[in-house]
């Protein structure tokens, strides 16, 4: 299953693939995560605890377990895989689309939890004040809520993006290692190491290390400037 791209020259294709995957994933997760986080922040439902636990599952679940179930679900014999085969003509597993689905599940808590925390610390009085002043739900959200949750939103985007960049276990199982299609950067590093091609691995690793560190430095600095800790 492991296909080998054998060159000593640094191949940047995995990096671009990772960036593309992360960007698509974050956009989808924001669309899904905002209403979900809102619901979790304000619901009094008894289901809240269960939904919170399900959302947080990727945080503690071994990526191989998640990957295994996704593989079964999206594989040629799985329900989603069969449906996809009829629609798109190829398998969902070992495709970029499959990777996106897996990434969304895997990075979900990193987007939903900061948003939920932001919504929970929302100044509800200001929201209510906007209502009594006649502002519609949409206007209230755009003019009052968004400016308040900007920090949580930024953290959600950055963590979601960075975590998708770093994904390995799930991707390895669901996406395999097809250059240009599913060979993201974390897998490329693994492969280089397996091939004892330490120099390439070193270059990719150093790049990612610096990238991750700078992103976190940015997050924590903004965080400190805008108020209290990340804790989200």
């Amino acid at each position: 299953m492991i296909e080998v791209a054998n060159d000593n020259i640094l191949d940047l294709a995995p990096v671009w693939l990772s960036l593309k995957l992360s960007a698509v994933t974050v956009v989808i997760l924001l669309i899904v995560g905002l209403p979900m986080a809102w619901w979790l922040a304000f619901t009094r439902s008894r289901l809240k605890v269960t939904i919170e636990a399900v959302t947080a599952l990727p945080l503690v679940l071994p990526p191989t377990v998640l990957g295994f179930y996704l593989l079964v679900f999206m594989g040629p014999n799985g329900p989603a895989g069969q449906l996809w085969h009829v629609l798109a003509g190829h398998s969902l597993a070992f495709s970029f689309t499959g990777l996106v689905i897996a990434s969304c599940l895997y990075s979900l808590p990193f987007v939903v939890q900061p948003l939920q925390a932001a919504f929970e610390s929302l100044d509800r009085k200001a929201v209510e004040a906007a209502w009594t002043l006649g502002a519609s739900m949409v206007r209230t959200f755009v003019t009052i809520v968004l400016p308040q949750i900007r920090r949580g939103l930024l953290i959600a985007i950055v963590l979601g993006f960075a975590h998708t960049m770093g994904e390995f276990g799930v991707v390895l199982m669901v996406g395999g290692n097809i250059p240009g299609e599913t060979q993201v950067v974390s897998i490329a590093i693994y492969e280089q190491v397996e091939m004892l091609n330490y120099q390439s691995a070193e270059k990719l690793s150093a790049g990612l290390l610096v990238f991750s560190f700078l992103i976190l430095l940015l997050v924590y600095s903004i965080n400190r400037q805008w108020g209290r800790g990340l804790k989200a």
Binding site: D123, K125, A126, E128, A129, A130, W131, T132, L133, G134, A135, S136, T143, I144, P147, Q148
Partner: protein, 379 residues
């Protein structure tokens, strides 16, 4: 402007609000009550931020809420101006943007200018809320609420967010603004002083129910029952043990009366500044001086009656008072003694049973709390 009628019931984790309130076309109505008595919930129900379980709210001929036909106008569609306890200004918007938030775009500039002038906020237009003092914040919150020309202005504990030392000044500012308004104002507070000179009408709320409502002076002078009197800051209470046609007796002594008082009187009360020092004589009460305090223009003396009940009397700063420990006789002028019963809310109103309302007792023609003998109106 329109008369507002609120008649709502709401139950939430053991707390019950059961309130029947008429707000006249103009003037300031204050709802007074201890923390947790449901005052703020009442405001939120009127503002549309809480949904009552039962009841209706009508403003003139507009129906805001009627649980009978499931009508519930959202907060956005009600014309309410609400000033929140901590003002709830939009922290990321300037003063001018805050005031203009609720206004249609075309008139915004003009109306914002008008309210900035009216509330003396010139030169603050460009500031953000965190750059304002407590009093300025309050004026911005008022301007923001009033700019939309609401049918009613709601104020939630307007001074609780302000230092004690600034309250007096803010109170006067608010008074000046509020007196010029065309719409009715409803203030909710637990601070006596706030309402004393701000409110035309006063309602006293105890455990989610309006125990007493009426014209400000009437309510202050005739609270009717012990609970309300305590909330209104009354201080001297003599528990009544027995009543004959000419005298009232308690463990504290006996007072002769010139006129019969209601047989179910539970307490006698008198204001501190109506009590006089006297030499031993019939009608005086023997007491021991416990404490003398100077309060600026007033000197205050606390005395202990023979059963331990305490009476407070006040006199002017230039009148001499006996020293603590000495024995004095106090005269309680009969025309200033008032009678109180225990809380009238012995019979709990059944939710929905609108025929036997206790609230009916709490209109201005309240039959209790009259003075014992008629007297000329003390200014």
């Amino acid at each position: 402007m329109s008369r507002i009628r609120v008649d709502v019931r709401l139950k939430r984790d053991g707390f019950v609000l059961d309130c029947d309130l008429d707000i006249p076309e103009q003037g300031v109505t204050a709802i007074l009550g201890p923390s947790g008595s449901g005052k703020t919930t009442l405001l939120r129900v009127i503002a549309g931020l809480e949904t009552p379980d039962q009841g209706s709210i009508t403003v003139g001929d507009k129906v805001w809420v009627n649980t009978g036909n499931r009508k519930f106008l959202s907060s956005q569609k009600r014309k309410v101006g609400m000033v929140f306890q901590d003002y709830a200004l939009f922290e990321h918007l300037t003063v001018a943007q805050n005031i203009g938030y609720g206004l249609p775009r075309r008139q915004r500039g003009q109306l914002v200018d008008k309210w900035i002038n009216r509330l003396h906020l010139e030169s603050l237009e460009g500031r953000y809320p965190h750059e304002l003092s407590g009093g300025q914040k309050q004026r911005v919150a008022l301007a923001r609420a009033l700019a939309t020309e609401p049918d009613i202005l709601l104020l939630d504990e307007p001074f609780s967010a302000v230092d004690v030392s600034l309250r007096e000044k803010l109170r006067r500012q608010l008074q000046e603004i509020v007196k010029t308004l065309e719409q009715p104002v409803l203030i909710v507070t637990h601070d006596l002083e706030e309402v004393h000179h701000l409110a035309d009408r006063i309602g006293v709320m105890v455990d989610g129910r309006l125990s007493r409502i009426g014209q400000s002076n009437n309510v202050f002078d005739d609270p009717g029952n012990y609970e309300v009197a305590k909330i209104l800051g009354w201080r001297n209470f003599l528990p009544v043990k027995s009543i004959t046609s000419t005298a009232v007796t308690g463990a504290w002594g006996e007072l002769s009366l010139e006129q019969a008082i209601p047989v179910d009187t539970d307490w006698l009360s008198i204001r501190p500044y109506h009590i006089r020092l006297t030499t031993e004589e019939p009608g005086g009460l023997c007491t021991e001086v416990v404490h003398v305090r100077e309060l600026g223009a007033v000197r205050e003396m606390e005395c202990r009656l023979r059963d331990g009940t305490r009476l407070v009397m006040q006199s002017s700063w230039h009148e001499p008072l006996p020293a603590p420990g000495s024995q004095v006789w106090l005269k309680l002028p009969l025309q200033h003694i008032q009678v109180l019963c225990d809380s009238p809310l012995v019979q709990i109103r059944q939710s929905g049973n609108t025929t036997a309302r206790l609230a009916d007792r709490s209109v201005d023609q309240f039959t209790r709390g009259k003075r014992v003998v008629p007297m000329e109106k003390q200014s």
